[in-house]
């Protein structure tokens, strides 16, 4: 009997195919379907080919949103990763302080995203918010995040740092705790400086968790929606309209399903591409990890 004749094993893989089909492929194909048709009404549709794609790719407001998004994600990573590493290095290593710090740090992670937005709205309002009033009345800075695009940007960024740096800290802390004490002793015996210990022991040993932290923070920040939606609603003007918000405006606000679907796919491909680049670049540095 040739080895190709007995194909019963395929039945065992079938459930996985079904699950993947229902969870990923069918929804994705619906979007693909919308992206190449103009839906005029129920049961009334026209095939339009790549028209929506051309529309979307030449839409200058989308380009703006994309650049805004890239700058935003870059800022998020540039602040949260070093800050996370820094805080993780200063956390206590034993005693009651460990659990106290970890619980306090994890608190922002436990708050639902729209609540985070609401908290920051209340916190930042120039008329009643703690920060708003303090900045305006105590320091005389005319802070108003609903009117000034720079203030609005900074507020969204600081909110993200407050919300998500704890995740980076927790990951780095776990990475640091996994380094055997013997490494520090060996470095001490060698006479290595504090910086050398960080550069040659802690950083290389944290590479694995840092890769995960960067990927998670990149993907999450690149898809950010809820918090700025609640906080600024994308404004003032379009100054804090990121990709997700623009997409939602298109699909829900204007009910342009075709362009929104085409945009979704482009968006998905961009995230996939960036994640792939990040992963390859970082894991090529990653060989030294024991």
């Amino acid at each position: 009997m040739s080895k190709w004749e007995d194909n019963k094993a395929w039945f065992l893989v079938l459930p996985v195919f079904l699950v993947v089909a229902f969870s990923a492929i069918i929804p994705l194909m619906t979007v693909v379907n919308y992206s190449v048709q103009d839906i005029l009404g129920p049961g009334d549709r026209v095939f339009v080919g790549d028209e929506w794609y051309r529309d979307v790719l030449t839409d200058f407001r989308l380009h703006e949103a994309l650049w805004r998004q890239i700058v935003y994600s870059f800022c998020v990573l540039a602040i949260e990763v070093p800050l996370g590493i820094g805080v993780a290095l200063t956390l206590p290593k034993k005693g009651w302080g460990v659990s106290a710090c970890l619980v306090l740090l994890a608190l922002p992670l436990l708050i639902p995203w729209n609540v985070v937005g609401t908290i920051w709205v209340v916190f930042s309002r120039p008329d009643i918010g703690l920060t708003g009033v303090t900045l305006n009345n105590l320091f005389g800075i005319p802070y108003n995040f609903t009117a000034n695009p720079v203030h609005s940007w900074l507020t969204v960024l600081i909110m993200d740092v407050w919300h998500w740096t704890p995740l980076v800290i927790l990951l780095c802390y776990a990475g640091l705790r996994a380094i055997p004490e013997a490494y520090y002793q060996a470095a001490k015996i060698d006479g290595a400086s504090r910086f050398a210990v960080f550069r040659y022991i802690q950083l290389p040993k944290m590479r694995g968790v840092l890769l995960i932290a960067v990927l998670l923070r990149f993907m999450d920040s690149f898809m950010i929606y809820t918090e700025p939606f609640v906080l600024t609603g994308g404004g003032p003007g379009n100054s804090t309209t990121f990709l997700s918000q623009y997409l939602t405006k298109m699909a829900v606000g204007q009910f342009d399903l075709g362009p929104a679907a085409a945009f979704s796919l482009v968006y998905f491909l961009i995230i996939l591409l960036f994640s792939y680049i990040f992963y390859t670049v970082i894991s090529s540095f990653d060989k030294g990890e024991a």
Binding site: A186, I189, D190, P204, G288
Partner: protein
């Protein structure tokens, strides 16, 4: 150089890790610290290195007090149970790291790194990263890092424990050669009596934070000061047979009388513990004067080319070590043979009363 510890205690919280440890080490000596887990071996090494401070007592280096002097100012190198290397540095940079930190000239660093790498047979691996090496090669790199700086005190904390049997044997032989050629003080901890015997030199037997006995390794092996030393320095632990000596006879396990002759002649009456190592118990009569006892089989464990048969003799456990593979039915009564001239006689309280004569071969 001479290095000594006097009356060193280490107490953390309510836990006593070391109690009244006094030892002296001379330059060019190889010293093995033998003890089971939790005997205080690692604590002792850390204190010697200056990584930890003793709670009480003094460390002296050539007569100068170095208690509490930071490890950075001392001439110490250490190898650990785990394979500790800088993960992002090549093998070359790893070995060179202590020299570079000490600010040595480049050419000299290069010469020493290559020389040490050659000694440990890792020359072809100099450009690799530690993660690209096998466990044995990683530990060779870590040992090279410790050797390269020619420290006066070379401490090795169970360096071969995480390696497989073959590599362990191989590296053990090489290390012994390397240590012999150096004039630093080598201190090597282990839990295995066989390893201690192979490395030779001097031995310190530790148990529960105390030094039980120290001296030349072979001498301590043949004349353990007490039943505890004999137990730590035998694998499996030395067999004990409670014995009463009365009227010119020794009553083994209080049931079998044997005449007192050989090194037992003239043993005063009283209660003793007769100790005999497992390799002096046999399944078959080897010698006409071996004593036959009957015992019940509890367990037969085959370990490589040896068999350990655990038996109960008059309520007390004994282990017979035999070359080759032997099967014995569990629960059956078997005859085993004890070589009487190999008995160690301990007082009922523990100290050695008489040791067997050392015979050639």
């Amino acid at each position: 150089m001479a290095f000594s510890l006097s009356n060193v205690d280490k107490i953390v919280g309510k836990e006593t890790y070391l109690k009244n440890v006094s030892l002296t080490f001379e330059s060019g000596s190889q010293n093995v610290i033998l003890g089971r887990t939790l005997a205080g071996k690692t604590t002792l090494l850390r204190i010697m290195a200056g990584l930890d401070k003793p709670t009480k007592g003094k460390l002296m280096e050539n007569g100068a007090d170095v208690t509490g002097v930071s490890v950075r100012k001392r001439s110490v190198a250490m190898v650990y149970q785990q394979f500790v290397n800088y993960p992002s540095l090549s093998v070359y940079a790893n070995i060179a790291s202590p020299l570079r930190l000490a600010g040595m000239a480049k050419a000299e660093v290069d010469r020493r790194v290559r020389e040490t790498a050659a000694m440990l047979h890792i020359e072809p691996l100099l450009n690799r990263l530690p993660a690209e090496l096998s466990g044995g090669q990683q530990q060779r790199t870590a040992i090279a890092r410790a050797l390269v700086k020619d420290a006066q005190l070379l401490l090795l904390d169970e360096p071969l424990v995480n390696l497989d049997y073959k590599l362990r044997e191989e590296l053990r032989v090489e290390l012994q050669q390397i240590f012999k050629a150096r004039d630093s003080i080598v201190v090597y901890t282990t839990t295995e009596p066989t390893e201690a015997l192979m490395l030779g030199g001097n031995i310190v037997v530790m148990h529960e934070g105390r030094v039980l006995q120290s001296g030349p390794t072979a001498e301590v092996y043949h004349n353990p000061a007490s039943i505890s030393v004999a137990a730590v320095f035998s694998d499996p632990p030395i067999n004990r047979i409670e014995t009463r000596v009365k009227g010119g006879f020794a009553e083994l396990g209080r049931i079998l009388s044997v005449p007192l002759d050989g090194h037992l002649t003239g043993l005063p009456e009283g209660d003793y513990i007769f100790g005999v190592r497992s390799n002096h118990l046999f399944l078959n009569r080897q010698h006409e004067r071996d004593i036959k006892i009957t015992a019940k089989v509890e367990l037969a464990e085959i370990n490589g080319s040896e068999t350990f048969i655990h038996v109960i003799y008059n309520g007390a456990p004994l282990v017979v070590q035999e070359e080759g593979i032997h099967q014995r039915k569990l629960g059956s009564e078997i005859d085993i043979y004890v070589r009487a001239r190999k008995f160690y006689i301990f007082d009922a309280k523990g100290p050695l009363v008489r040791a067997p004569r050392i015979e050639a071969a």
